[in-house]
Symmetry: C2
Subunit: 425 residues, 2 copies
Amino acid sequence: MNGNDTGGGRGALPPLEPKADRETVRRHNLSLVLRTVRDAGEVTRAGVSARVGLTRAAVSSLVEQLLESGFLTESGKTFSGQAGRPGTVLKVARTGVAGLGVEINVDYVSVCVVDLAGTDRVRLVEHLDNRGTDPALVFARAARTAARALASAAEQELTPVGAALALPGLVASGTVRQAPNLGWTAVEAETPFADALAALRPDRVPLRVRSENEANLAALAELWFGGLGAARTFLYLTGEIGVGGALVLGGELLRGANGFAGEIGHVTVSDDGPLCRCGSRGCLEQYAGQSALLRAAGVDERSGASGVAELEHRAAAADSRAVAALTDAGRALGRVLAGAVNLFDPDAVVLGGIYRPLLPWLAPPVGEELTTRVVSGLWSADGERLRPSSLAADAVRGAAALVLQDVLEDPVAYARPPAAGAAGV
Amino acid sequence: MNGNDTGGGRGALPPLEPKADRETVRRHNLSLVLRTVRDAGEVTRAGVSARVGLTRAAVSSLVEQLLESGFLTESGKTFSGQAGRPGTVLKVARTGVAGLGVEINVDYVSVCVVDLAGTDRVRLVEHLDNRGTDPALVFARAARTAARALASAAEQELTPVGAALALPGLVASGTVRQAPNLGWTAVEAETPFADALAALRPDRVPLRVRSENEANLAALAELWFGGLGAARTFLYLTGEIGVGGALVLGGELLRGANGFAGEIGHVTVSDDGPLCRCGSRGCLEQYAGQSALLRAAGVDERSGASGVAELEHRAAAADSRAVAALTDAGRALGRVLAGAVNLFDPDAVVLGGIYRPLLPWLAPPVGEELTTRVVSGLWSADGERLRPSSLAADAVRGAAALVLQDVLEDPVAYARPPAAGAAGV
């Protein structure tokens, strides 16, 4: 062994401090209590104490601070079930801190505001074609929609503390490096959107804005709001105009060395296949993307969501061209997925976007390819590991929820009126 | 957000302990000092103190314990460069604890003993055909070779504290689930090997044995002993009878949900391609594995290492069939690698095994495919991200070094004569 395995940033362990800092401990424990209440939905102080392993006195003091800062509410009486003492029920607050999610996709813009409990409280969707549009105009339009959502949130006494943009392309450091289906290359996203939104707000206060690939956010939404159960390592695929993908490893997004991981839509199906907008040939997107699928089925490929509904309708009526188009797309999808499963060994593959309604026709050919081509033999034809995405989980909700992760990890930093004095108590 | 994102094993944070346990701190700091000395090669106590941020007094006490336990040695005099005081130079011990690595591959068994400094001190290789051989016999033969290596290590006063088996297949929980090229399915590995080795040792004491996929261990060896520099996220491919692969993410092996990640040899190149031993069709192994490559070049595919040398010789002499075989294999390799890079976004791709000597002919077609097919555009034709593996790094050395990771992480647990009293001092 040489220096490489411990000398790098990630491998190097700092010396342990003999005594942990009191304020650090308290902030950590405030986060722990807040997350425990959120995960439980409703819980007494005694219940929190039992779950986190801190004394009841410690939990009471932490809960007091979270109540004062507006992160928790208490209501009603219940019996704690321990020693027969009645306790009030704690919940996370339905007002106060919230997250703003904004998805800019090829043919729509979607905005939502999510509260600390994870509930979608405001949602606005605009269908419009963003292809080939000046990015400044796209951000200005998205900001207008976001401003309306913020006004609606304010009426519900919700205050977004940040925003996250979901974008259909390679996103890193606030910039869209490549979004072939939008026709964008090297487009700065966070600052133009933040500025456009600040200009529309009554107080002109800029929100902190971050940005992320839309499939990554849809995968996080699936993890947080979906029905994956124990599966915490999965591959997420979303069929849209493009085909987006994300890899989640043990509950964490796998971003790769530059943040560009998960580009399953540009894995090659056939090296002499149709030219792709990315410049390569025979990409999965050219076989299983929305346009390719509609075209193969004889449905107008520019017809968007209504075209997908039409395809579903024809397939349900056993229209042979529709069924053949779905079978062929499913085979291409299955081959690429089998390669990804051989590389990554996930617990599950989740299919979202247009693949969700079309799964009844896609699942058999996909399952067949997985059964034949995955060397571990764990992907049998029963298809249990192949799942539709949850209706409750989409990229824009994932974006809004991402903002709230920061709050949950350090509520003190987001406490309402100056809570500096409260820390360390 | 619901319970999924923090309720699972990985996401749940325990409450912080207000005070850290003294013995835990000391054991952690002993590990830190030992790794610092190993990474530095030679260093004074003052140098250790400067690197780890502990006081000189604390470092001196920790160094004393590591000297007494036989993990460090000191020698010579030097000037510390700080306040002009002379200090002796610390190094990790070249005797004492060591790791035993055993690679069982399709046509060879390789054994090595590595010391705490990471140096290969004993190495034995036997060429023999393990295909279709009773696993019990394979383990017995490997144990005989390992026993000879242990005898040789004992002469050098090295004491392996454990062994790791490198195996060409899907390995989890001590069992080979699938090794298509050995013809093994569900073969228990660790216990049979440990028992066979214990029976051959003078003291009959069993070594603790673990097992791992050989490409995973070769990738770790590349990380620890290779020339990757700052690249800590990479894809490793090794050409042998099979084609093995491994993914390293930020310096950690990506094992997947079941430990079966990295099976790049069974990614499909062409869905109607030749039948593979895994049961699928058109796997990369059938285009770029050793047998396929030798056959396409007109070299006897059973000729093993000498056949690869012959292929290299013919390609160097511009034999058109040899060059064409390498170009075709390179194209298949490049296509599959481009897909893997799109999915995983590594800093580098490392090619080992037979690909290392053949890289001059493989790199151009591989580079061309990567340039065309990787959507991020980061894989330009200069080929800087495509690298040959290091000669100093191979699976068996990685296996031996893996054993020493445990020692480095908690030396107290491996201290020679009972060091229980020393901990907590």
